[in-house]
Symmetry: D2
Subunit: 383 residues, 4 copies
């Protein structure tokens, strides 16, 4: 018996009931024509959810595989890459880029701010040789959004290919590969889609495919290969290796749920939950981590831990006292940031109320000056 | 609605009911102390199932990841590797070995036979510089077993490290890492354990760890890294990236089931099912693919397709007529081999009867000379 | 761990995967408007499946409740009831009828035959005072069908109300309340619908409602009441008591599955499975229990146990040897009849093959003269 | 997609994850020896949970069946029954008692108070002919407890048999059949055990068995029969009719969970949740319905709806605004009472916080004078 009653952190989140039910479906074998056509149908659903004109690609592990594979496949040995770092994930991607590129140039901004598209433009003008730009749409560790549509437009204008990490934003807000001119767009199953970690969902543009196919160093016969899976969704092809059947069943249900509820409705839920969370946190006396609300994510609200209070200790104590699992920060910011997730099944304002109540009471008990009642009231009023 | 009523091929197999039930458990987040200690407990159960003295390692995708990671981590740039190829999988591993090694020498034998340990000994004497030996215990595509215990003893005597692919034999018969002197032993979840594909299970010897840690080219910060996960099972450590929670729930149940039934009982079930299958096939008039019963696997029975009959067409027809999903061969042997799996939940003699009945009727309808009744009777008698 | 691998008896059968998945859905409370409207939708689906012009009624326990409630509600103290007994269930219903009626007259025929509609006509002419006729459509214990359409036409002509027990035939063949002029038609969830026992499904004609409402002794404020539930399916009404939510979730999925596959397709599957079973049994040397194939049910095949062999011992032995659960007979026929069910998820010819193979092998081992191979071949050929 | 995110009313509650998982187990047939022994094991677990010296009895529908069956079986035609009515359920039981008894005498008290054992004693002295006393332990509609231990002692002293309705208190607090001298003790599966409605759980004393067996009018061959099921749990007996297998699987898991967590721990959780709820409600400005905290149930907190506000409208609005399903009152009190359940999976203080936050915000929006913040803070502080 777990002590955890509510998982309300920055992901993974618990499953939608529909996804959970799908995990009980029979597992077929990878050679079964029924499975082959099922896989193709799921891939089609995904392509529609991504609002994509080329077939989506599913890789067979957690979303981080999609990111590593994108770097390994798209970046050629002679490439100059512009990596945009407004947080820990963006910074980290730069290290992968550096493995494959000739050179990585970087725009790094403080982790409570966002990348300025004008700075990207300036850099691309200065370095017209830049072949690939990489950006994280939603910096999960700090709850900040980058303006990927604007960045994408700039990159496209300059002829650079764009890699977008949308793992924790896709399906929680209005962001898609072609809107943002992404050439590789990486999403996951365990965040706003309300599924389990197990698969990573990619959109690859025709331009990216051309580059990957031409890239002699692009992985093949490897878990890291994107191109091995380019046509794997077709019912008349086999798979490079055994796909994760149970996870495919779950993905199917997550995509059905997303379509049935209606993407706009889902995004609205995420947005209103985050808004209620921010209102409540402010009334409680807590400061938002992002420097402005304009860049605060609708899928994760990052708050500054009150002075002198260790965020990791707070998270442990909220769980112990109330059975509510939140998230602290990551890396060097681990002790400074408190995070409440709003993703898929937990993206309802009442979840924000619940999270704030548990957080407020714990902070109060740990000596922080918080007005719990005011915070909960404000969140409820915004709900 | 799938047409498939029974999945009786060479894997994946359908789930044990206990595993299916486990997939409905809540998904916790990767920072949850409840999940951290759960992961450690599952890893301990796995270590016990592997009869291992060092903690097992779980990697986060299908078993093929374990094999690629083993090659990438253990084989250093200056190594000479001896690859043993008695089938398609062994042959394939050689290509991975060649990516990382200075040189790969190979012993290849016809795919209906097994590797002779004496030949390995001879090769190791001839090439004392061989640092790593790689072998597939059970060649799933052809249903043949290699004598890994004997090969392991030889390798150890010569100071070479041994990589064993036991993906489709572990948990279906008495084979373990230390019995066979394996330095990296790779197993999966979706074969004899009766789970879903999603994780790969590794045993790594102290000698292998020493080599991996010393190998500058061993992957790190990568899905392909073994060493990133060396201590990840410890509840006081975090994970390199989000583990596949739902798949961990399933693995937990599969390991519990294996322990509760008793490994010896499980192996006995597999052996008696394969024996009944071989008896029945022989009585039906079908020939075993392996040249001798002594090397026939207890987890997959591979049969020769009757002359002039295409195994792939047979498999499609058995499914269409009877709702039973078997397997054809792989690669160049695709049309020549018919395979019946005996793995986990399908390793009961009555499953072999069922498979043979459906296969026999279909072969008969396709013009083969088979004695269906005699075959079914013989399988039943052996049950 | 159960020893039972396949449940192939006369019911309950194991669940369709869709039903199993539905059992994992959240359970709402009985006052929840979401549950109220869900219940109404399920009732509508049921009404359609029953091809009924009045709303169906769901009672909250196994199908036997529907039968007892029908007797208690429809039969008034002054009624003369004609009970038709062609088997154990029909005979049993007479005892219930006798509790509520002034008098019960009975036509009883040998349990391997069916009721002759002409005999019913003669009886109704002789006893024009007969108000209610009761008949079992499918005598599950003996696998025989009564001609309820013809009997219903006779009853209607004579102005008698008809109670039909269609528990083990509805959804396995083309039988419906209005086809058969049934005034109360009782079905279940755990037979051909492939659900779990838990609910009983009733169609009640307007004539029956009129009589029930007029019957002062009809149960109310009781688990046995039909009329308490007459309008309970309406989303604007409450329930007499808490309905079985989880079982309603399961029923919803069973009805969806039935509609999606198409009733005619489902019936065809049942018919072809029973036909294959009869062909196989005959070739094996076993005799059908029903005197003619014309009255043999498509949902249960009842066979005579070979001379000198105890059917109950056979069933136990088939389970022990092969993990296949069949059914023996009931009551005084327990030791004389062997039954193979063809219901919902087990209504595929290959299931009949499987059942016959296990049965034949066991009978052979117990000394019966059976030609197992011929039987299996014949069943396969008919598949 | 239901709008209901949290079911926090007076039951049924949503399932424990363990129960949900158990619903995916295979369904065996009622003649399967594996099912027969499983049923016996579950009955043994239930007997232990009831702390009973005679084997428990399981009847095959919702708890209301247990109550009706108790009245029908235990009360003989010549009996005088003392019915104790401190609420709607107690009052209702009197009508059942009246169906079977010669005479029913009643002690009725206002529905915000409890029965005084001294009054019971006085009545039994005055009417020494009273054979049966009936009492509801927890009046779910009003959240009040009766002192059944004291009442039981009095009844025993006077030689009367006692029927206790403990449907919504058993497993949520320290109450058992023999503690309270109950002769028939009726519990359910869908309240504090955290299962689904489907079965009713009875403890029957030797004295009650003697009376039932002697009672010629006690139901038999009926869904209402207790005695049909007296020995049905024994693996060497058959069942009177098909038990609800899927619900038995669920009950098994609910009982395992109860034992694993430890009954005392479970009761403590319920008590502390109710205490937090009462503290919070009081600070919010809401009045408890029970006249004193001493008789307030740990499993349901009943509050007075503020003056001029319709409780049913509040419940609908809380659901619409926040996705939280609470309960209004029942019958004539439907509009006057607001109820928050604390049962099984929802018996954690944080659930009370959640319920109060949603309730308070809605009441505020509907014009009630409530201090939401203070209420939530007080509940959190008591957590």
């Amino acid at each position: 018996m777990s002590e955890t009653l509510f998982t309300l952190g920055a992901g993974p989140v618990d499953l939608y009931p529909e996804v959970r039910a799908a995990f009980t479906r029979p597992v077929l074998s990878d050679g079964d024509p029924g499975f082959l056509s099922f896989y193709e149908r799921v891939n089609d659903k995904l392509t529609r959810a991504l609002e994509c004109s080329t077939p989506a690609v599913i890789l067979q592990s957690e979303a981080i595989l999609g990111l590593e594979a994108a770097a390994a496949s798209l970046i050629a040995r002679g490439d100059v890459v512009l990596n945009l770092a407004s947080g820990i994930y963006g910074k980290g991607f730069g290290y992968w880029a550096a493995r494959y590129a000739k050179e990585v140039v970087e725009i790094e901004v403080p982790y409570d701010t966002a990348i300025d598209p004008a700075a990207v433009e300036a850099m691309l003008k200065k370095h017209p040789e830049i072949a690939v730009v990489s950006v994280v749409h939603h910096e999960t560790p700090t709850g900040t959004l980058n303006p990927v549509r604007e960045i994408g437009a700039v990159a496209r204008r300059h002829g650079a290919l764009l890699i977008v990490d949308a793992v924790s934003s896709f399906a929680g807000m209005d962001i898609h590969p072609e809107d943002s001119n992404a050439d590789i767009f990486v999403a996951g199953t365990a965040k706003c889609l309300g599924g389990a970690p197990g698969l990573t969902l990619l959109a690859v543009s025709d331009r990216a495919w051309a580059k990957i196919e031409a890239n002699k160093d692009a992985p093949f016969a490897s878990i890291l290969s994107i191109k091995d899976w380019r046509h794997a969704h077709r019912a008349d092809r086999g798979f490079p290796f055994t796909p994760l059947m149970a996870d495919m069943n779950a993905l199917d249900a997550a995509l059905d749920r997303y379509a049935a509820e209606g993407p706009e409705n889902v995004w609205r839920r995420h947005a209103s939950t985050a808004a209620a969370c921010r209102r409540g946190a402010a009334a409680m006396g807590l400061d938002l981590w992002p420097r402005s609300e304009a860049i605060a994510s609708p899928t994760v609200t990052a708050l500054k831990a009150p002075d002198g209070i260790d965020a990791e200790a707070v998270v442990a104590e909220v769980l112990r006292r109330h059975g509510v699992m939140l998230s602290a920060g990551s890396g060097e910011l681990a002790k400074k940031i408190l995070r409440i997730g709003h993703m898929g099944p937990t993206a309802h304002p009442i979840h924000a109320v619940l999270a704030l109540a548990a957080l407020g009471a714990t902070l109060g008990a740990m000596g922080a000056k918080v007005d719990i009642g005011a915070g909960v009231e404000a969140a409820l009023a915004a709900a």
